[in-house]
Symmetry: D2
Subunit: 137 residues, 4 copies
């Protein structure tokens, strides 16, 4: 089953009314989980590359981005007693990390396929974080 | 983009040969991420329910299961210097937690839709963990 | 062994020069780990309380704060290829969450000892995050 | 404040009776948190080393060990609706990972101080996990 559908189903099954559009929220949660995975994989693949010593900034930003996406996915999943200020703070951090990580991965996209794919996922996550920030206001 | 496809693409982009079938691995990673989300959501929804005091065991097992699935997804994503013993230990723990959490969520499936959906996801994750354990040997 | 000493020892053993004062960094890492623990414990204890339905906002903010502190401790521990913008974004989020969580826990400090202790830890973490933000500039 | 004391204070402030000796539990939580930090730091320092290509197995096991210790610290912190089978499964995984990671770090302890310190922390965490497993029965 695609995670996307499941996240939306789970958000819809919550007993309280939603504070943010649930389609948008589900998309953001799904991109955060996908980005946690792609960044963890990209850091790991970069560690295995022969040119690992050129990949240190990529590895570091991927590990950071994975950790921030993880926390953001967990926070956005929670709908009980929503607090706009906390969502805003963490989604802002997530957008920043995804942007920085995308930029670095793009630099290696020509010679490392995992960087090319990961950069694309980071950009998708960055964009939906921006949309969630607009929705939070 | 469905997480399933992305996980598989990222596994395939790794520079080293695979130790476990990558289709199976990608399925397990995707179910662990889906289960991290559904358990976080089910705990949160249960906290919001009027009968929250009846839901304590469900909340606790969902929070535990989310944490174990999170670590398992991260570990299985890594293919550099694979160590069978460590994968076996964590996937065993994940299968156990998913089974326990599924059993508890099933008890509430009739009156809480989020428990019904979450139980299904826990069972899927439990099954693919069992398949991965078979593959590890 | 106290975590504080160990974090400092580990930071000092890194082969590269430090970008931020390592005593300050170690203090922030230690408070983030302590706050991850106290918030996880406070959420869990609140779920067990008879007045659980009054504790929903406390539970939710504690779970969020734990997740953000977790990611922040991991990020600040990394010294390879330091990026100021990413540290600033995540430590800002952490300071915000700790402040919000402290405020809520303080409201219950009179009748729940775990909230009193947790509020104190959140305030310590909030303060050292502010000091790290000053150091990042 | 030392994490050790805080974990114990938080466990003692829980409204329900304990299932496992709280001094032992607090020690295990504190070592898991310390091990999460030392393994994250050791992986990061190894990535910065000139002989990074010789450190791949160490990096990988440290990243895995950090993730498992993180989940274990969170699970053991929860005392509401304790389930012995789930604690047993995850603490077993944690003991295994700490042992494997310690063994690898010990191989590099002579030339990398961060590996020497991290190996020591992994051994302490492995030992207290073993003691908790004895207590669970």
């Amino acid at each position: 089953m695609a995670t996307a559908t499941l996240s939306k189903e789970m958000l819809d099954a919550h007993p309280w009314p939603a504070q943010i559009d649930r389609d948008l929220l589900a998309r953001c949660i799904d991109e955060c989980l996908a980005c946690l995975q792609s960044c963890t994989a990209c850091a790991d693949a970069s560690i295995a590359e022969e040119d690992v010593s050129e990949m240190r900034r990529c590895i570091r930003l991927c590990l950071d981005c994975a950790d921030v996406c993880d926390g953001t996915a967990r926070m956005l999943t929670r709908q009980t007693e929503y607090v706009a200020a906390s969502a805003r703070a963490q989604v802002s951090s997530c957008r920043e990390l995804c942007g920085l990580c995308a930029e670095e991965c793009e630099r290696h996209a020509q010679h490392h396929e995992h960087c090319r794919i990961c950069a694309g996922e980071c950009r998708r996550c960055e964009e939906v974080c921006a949309a969630v920030l607009d929705a939070i206001g």
